[in-house]
């Protein structure tokens, strides 16, 4: 578990980072919190010749309000996310989910940008961002563009990022006041990836679900939006039959791998349960 040699770069601006990454090409990797990349390097499954450390770029830090959105700088840590009053009051599901990411030591170092940009289906934030309708700002040699979280993930570790591009911020629309939310994550222990997890954001009207969005973590090679499951919930009071139907609709799009967390059948089964439980809990907290 000893990495090979590499060159270390610490640019001070996004422009410098983009230039380094495009000049150095495929041998270079940006370094954020390093929780995914560094272990891969220690196993020599990743052997980048250059690491471009983004910690020196002040512009990538911080959380600010931009109209009806919260804009979170890519190098904002999970700890900073948890410390943010804006996040806690306007989108408490992010607060809840960040608390489920490993342990304090990991959260002091792990960043929101690294979490969403790496394309690891086990990461918690991507499905949440899809559920919340967030978009990612990508800056590269060809300029700046915004990509919806829902369009960003193409396969395990494959994303819409082009060579030389960096994900610089995440823009999240503030959900309606009084919305209900829940992130249900089944994991074996602290620090583990989800066996299955479901995020729900919904609004209630007259005892029935008015709007609903459901995201799924680690049950497919990419995070998923469970559109049919959400449709099944809308217009209902989430009776037992609806919950069953929503869980089944979510299970229908799951394709998890069998691993030590359990066989495929189990992971889909508990994925459905996470959806049903998240719906119930979200409805209970909605105003």
């Amino acid at each position: 578990m000893i990495p090979g040699s590499f060159s270390y770069h610490r640019p001070a601006s996004v422009a410098d980072a983009v230039k380094l990454l495009s000049d150095l090409g495929e041998d270079a990797r940006p370094l954020a919190g390093g929780h995914s990349l560094v272990p891969m390097m220690k196993l020599r499954l990743a052997t980048p010749a250059h690491l471009v450390d983004l910690h020196g770029i002040a512009a990538l830090k911080g959380i600010r309000r931009d109209g009806s959105n919260l804009v979170i700088g890519a190098m904002t840590t999970q700890h900073e996310l948890l410390a943010s009053g804006d996040v806690a009051t306007t989108m408490p599901i992010l607060h809840e989910a960040a608390l489920l990411i490993a342990d304090p030591q990991v959260r002091y170092r792990g960043t929101i940008g690294g979490n969403v940009a790496n394309g690891d289906p086990g990461n918690d934030m991507p499905a949440l961002m899809m559920t919340l309708g967030a978009s990612y700002r990508l800056e590269g040699p060809g300029g700046t563009r915004d990509v919806a979280a829902a369009d960003f993930y193409q396969g395990a570790y494959f994303t819409a990022l082009e060579p030389g591009e960096i994900l610089t911020s995440v823009s999240v629309p503030v959900p309606a006041a009084g919305h209900g939310y829940a992130y249900e994550k089944l994991k074996r222990k602290v620090g583990d990836y989800a066996t299955a997890a479901a995020a729900v954001v919904l609004t209630m009207s007259g005892g029935k679900v008015a709007t609903c969005s459901i995201g799924l973590t680690n049950v497919h090679e990419t995070p998923l939006l469970a559109v049919d499951a959400a449709k099944a919930a809308i217009g209902t009071s989430l009776d037992a039959a609806t919950l069953k139907k929503a869980a089944a609709a979510a299970e229908a799009i799951m394709a998890p791998a069998a691993d030590a967390r359990g066989p495929v059948e189990y992971r889909k089964h508990v994925g459905g349960i996470m959806v049903a439980r998240a719906l119930q809990r979200a409805a209970a907290v909605a105003k």
Partner: protein
């Protein structure tokens, strides 16, 4: 009377002797990051070694090409089996009487087996070198399932044993067979089964797992060519044994080998044996003339050095219809991996597994153990237990629950009915042990009363009805474990390692000012010896524990001992400490008599000194006696105050305990919650109650891990799939349940201070409590036995198989 004169209680408390919750003296350095571990050892010019390992579980090694590796800057040498053959070290003896490849000699027999050792100026260069060594393999069919190991067409694993029809422990039945070990009376046992009213039979498996101490195995070897001396710093639970093994296999004079075990970050059996890393680092140091460090990483630790358990125990009990056990029959298929590298006393190929009759009065029993080779890592170490005792405890405690279920009897009642009675001690078990002391009924009843056992059973019955009515998806289990351990190996009449009797030792030197140093043949890996050993001496000789420095781990200064594992330190070294202290005390008494001008027989020991009987004011403190020992001893007596004791225990000790686990399981997800865990331990005399509690907490946490998910698992092609803490369940404080501890005290009659040892009891007793809780939860749905580990998905699968989940 002067108010300042301390009372007897104050004088006694000032000693911080036995029974005192003395704070751990070693924690001062540990909690400040000032411990000194092997990886802290940095010698001038030190080189670093690292292994090329096999990706294949079974393959022929056709060619090793090191030419590119040797071009890597910093790489100095690549050692292979061919290199080692020049010094006759390509293979090494194991403690179990087998031989083991140090580096792959023609073949590899398990995934991650050591193939070549790259020596470089730093760890990075060594790893760069590893990636440049090109090894050509010809894959062979892997043998993974121990139940197929003795099939007629099973692949031949150990070609070096071709034609050998017997091994270190008798005849071999098959090319993959290691030994068969039988104990007990077969005919009598068969007869008991023939006339039994009730019989149960179940294959109870204890899966392969790993001790995984926080600090992995590591060493620094430094050979001084001028003096011809080899110094080895290593994570050794038994430093003297390592010195003797090195002397025997490297043919070096034993006085020229210095083995130093500095602070150790946990052992749990992982650091008893000798590993290829030690041999390779020593050879590399001899070859290069420089110190060589080898430090295992976590993957290497989990996949290559010393697994534990992997026992497949087909268990039968015969009983009368009213629940009196009449016979026990156990057959064990023991998966030893590629080499038999168990760290048991040499004559015990299955350790003390014949403690499998447990706490019960079985009139007859028969045990047979077959050891077999498979394409898995070698080991079979005692992971925080005496040798194979945790397997035995799990076997009998699970089987007693199965019998209770068959008899439709409460498992607590069945146990109470069959316990060995207090008046039966010393008790001779059907499989050959002499239990020293016990009061099982009292311990069991205390557990039942403290936990409100009857009320819990009532609640369970109500919950089961609610479950059947569909009102809850949660089921509740009560897991009882009443274990008897056998520890303190051991008496020379039946225990040795490579011919060395398993005594232990203590040397005490008192200094003139009433302080002293004590050295032992044991080696703490976290047990707190520096604290507790001083407490024994404090009580024995009346010198405050704070004035006694305890030193272990340096073979040049410590008296010879067999080390720390198998809960042997307190039963064996603890006794040696008391005996050495009593020698000090006896000489002190002669000095005091001389100074007080009375006959020795007129003196009595009083907490911290000697007093003339009937004349309370005539008193000489031990502190003053220490001074007198260096200037005014009686005529004809040698000055000084020192003693050495080598203690050969007359018997093992038999700690026991009554545990209860209360667990709730959500059948839809398989997620469990340990609602309550109560652990009553009887370890005889208690030296430091706080350390005992800490030991019990640690051991229970390991037991929780093992029962609920911790395993070393191989897929059907021989790949080990649990090579990191992502998949090898290592619970954090968040997952770990709350522990309630309790005790009774039944001293050992043959031990000088009556102590039995406790460090391993919670691991031994904890595993069956957890597993019985899971099995008890599911039993009303129709199951008899569900194999460990009981992680979430397996619990869900059990529920599904029983029709409780659609």
């Amino acid at each position: 009377m002067n108010d300042m004169t301390p009372t007897r209680e104050q004088r006694s408390a000032a000693l911080e002797g036995m029974g005192c919750k003395r704070k751990r003296v070693e924690d001062i350095r540990f909690t400040q990051g000032k411990g000194n571990y092997v990886d802290d050892v940095k010698l001038p010019g030190m080189l670093h070694g690292d292994f090329v390992r096999s990706p294949h579980p079974h393959a022929r090694v056709k060619k090793i090409d090191d030419s590119e590796a040797l071009k890597v800057p910093g790489v100095l040498a690549v050692i292979t089996a061919e290199t080692l053959k020049t010094v006759n070290l390509a293979w090494m003896p194991t403690l179990a009487g087998d031989v083991q490849m140090v580096l792959a000699d023609g073949k590899v027999l398990f995934q991650n087996q050591e193939v070549a050792f790259v020596v470089a100026t730093d760890r990075y260069a060594a790893d760069d070198g590893i990636n440049k060594v090109i090894v050509e393999y010809e894959p062979l069919p892997p043998l993974v399932d121990p139940f197929k190991s003795m099939d007629p067409d099973a692949p031949v694993l150990r070609e070096d044993l071709a034609g050998k029809t017997s091994g270190a422990h008798g005849p071999r039945k098959h090319h993959n067979h290691i030994f068969e070990w039988t104990v007990g009376d077969k005919e009598l046992t068969d007869a008991a089964f023939n006339k039994a009213d009730v019989k149960i039979k179940e294959m109870i498996a204890y899966h392969r797992t790993h001790p995984s101490p926080l600090e992995t195995c590591q060493c620094v070897c430094s050979f001084d060519k001028i003096k011809g001396e080899l110094t080895i710093y290593g994570t050794f639970q038994a430093p003297h044994v390592i010195r003797t093994v090195v002397a025997l296999i490297a043919k070096l004079p034993e006085q020229k080998i210095h083995v130093i075990a500095p602070d150790i970050g946990g052992g749990f059996g992982n650091k008893v044996g000798a590993y290829p890393g030690y041999i390779c680092a020593a050879v590399a140091s001899i070859v290069t003339g420089k110190p060589v460090k080898w430090v295992e990483d976590r993957i290497e630790n989990l996949t290559a050095t010393s697994f534990a358990r992997d026992y497949h125990m087909t268990t039968e009990i015969a009983a009368t219809k009213d629940g009196k056990v009449t016979g026990l029959r156990v057959h064990v298929l023991a998966d030893h991996g590629a080499f038999d590298a168990c760290a048991d006393p040499s004559k015990w190929p299955a350790g003390f597994f014949n403690i499998v009759t447990g706490s019960y009065d079985f009139p007859t029993a028969h045990l047979a153990v077959d050891g077999v080779y498979t394409n898995k890592a070698p080991g079979g170490v005692a992971y925080r237990c005496s040798f194979r005792v945790t397997e035995a405890a799990y076997c009998i405690e699970r089987a007693m629950d199965i019998l209770a279920q068959k008899l439709n009897m409460d498992p607590a009642e069945l146990r109470l009915k069959n316990f060995i009675k207090p008046e039966q001690f010393p008790y001779h078990s059907a499989l050959g042990w002499e239990y020293d002391s016990g009061d099982y009924h009292t311990a069991m009843r205390k557990m039942m009363e403290t936990t409100g056992y009857a009320a819990l059973r009532k609640e369970q019955a109500e919950k089961r009805e609610a479950f059947k009515r569909g009102e809850t998806r949660e089921i509740m289990g009560l897991g009882i474990s009443f274990f008897t351990e056998i520890v303190g190996a051991g008496p020379s009449k039946n225990c040795d390692i490579l011919g060395i009797a398993m005594f232990d030792s203590c040397e005490i030197r008192m200094h003139p000012t009433g302080a002293g140093i004590a050295r032992m043949g044991t080696k703490s890996q976290g047990q707190g010896h520096e604290t507790t050993w001083a407490q024994i001496i404090a009580t024995e000789i009346g010198i405050p524990a704070d004035n006694i420095m305890v030193e272990e781990g340096n073979t040049d200064t410590a008296p010879y001992g067999l080390g720390t594992y198998g809960s042997r330190s307190t039963p064996v070294a603890g006794a040696a400490i008391a005996m050495a202290a009593r020698k000090i005390k006896a000489k002190a008494q002669m000095i005091a008599a001389y100074k007080l001008e009375v006959h020795e027989d007129d003196l009595e020991f009083d907490i911290d000194g000697f007093r003339v009987k009937g004349l309370p004011e005539k008193f000489m403190s031990m502190k003053d006696i220490c001074w007198a020992a260096y200037n005014s001893v009686p005529p004809g007596m040698e000055p000084g105050l020192e003693a050495v004791s080598y203690y050969d225990p007359p018997n093992m000790t038999y700690p026991f305990g009554a545990y209860l686990c209360v667990m709730d399981i959500d059948v839809d997800t398989g997620v469990y919650k340990v609602r309550r865990f109560y652990a009553l331990d009887d370890c005889g005399t208690r030296i430091n109650p706080m350390i005992i509690e800490g030991q019990v907490h640690g051991g229970l946490t390991e037991a929780f891990a093992i029962a609920m998910g911790q395993e070393i698992r191989y897929d059907e092609t021989g790949n080990v799939v649990t090579g990191s803490f992502m998949d090898f369940f290592m619970p954090t404080a968040v997952e770990t349940p709350h522990w309630e501890t309790d005790f009774t005290v039944t001293p050992s009659p043959h031990h000088p201070i009556g102590a039995k040892g406790v460090g391993e009891s919670p691991n031994v007793g904890g595993v069956p409590a957890f597993s019985n809780a899971v099995n008890d939860a599911f039993s009303f749905l129709g199951s008899t036995h569900i194999q460990m580990p009981h992680d979430f998905w397996r619990n869900w699968k059990a529920a599904k198989d029983l029709g409780a989940v659609v």
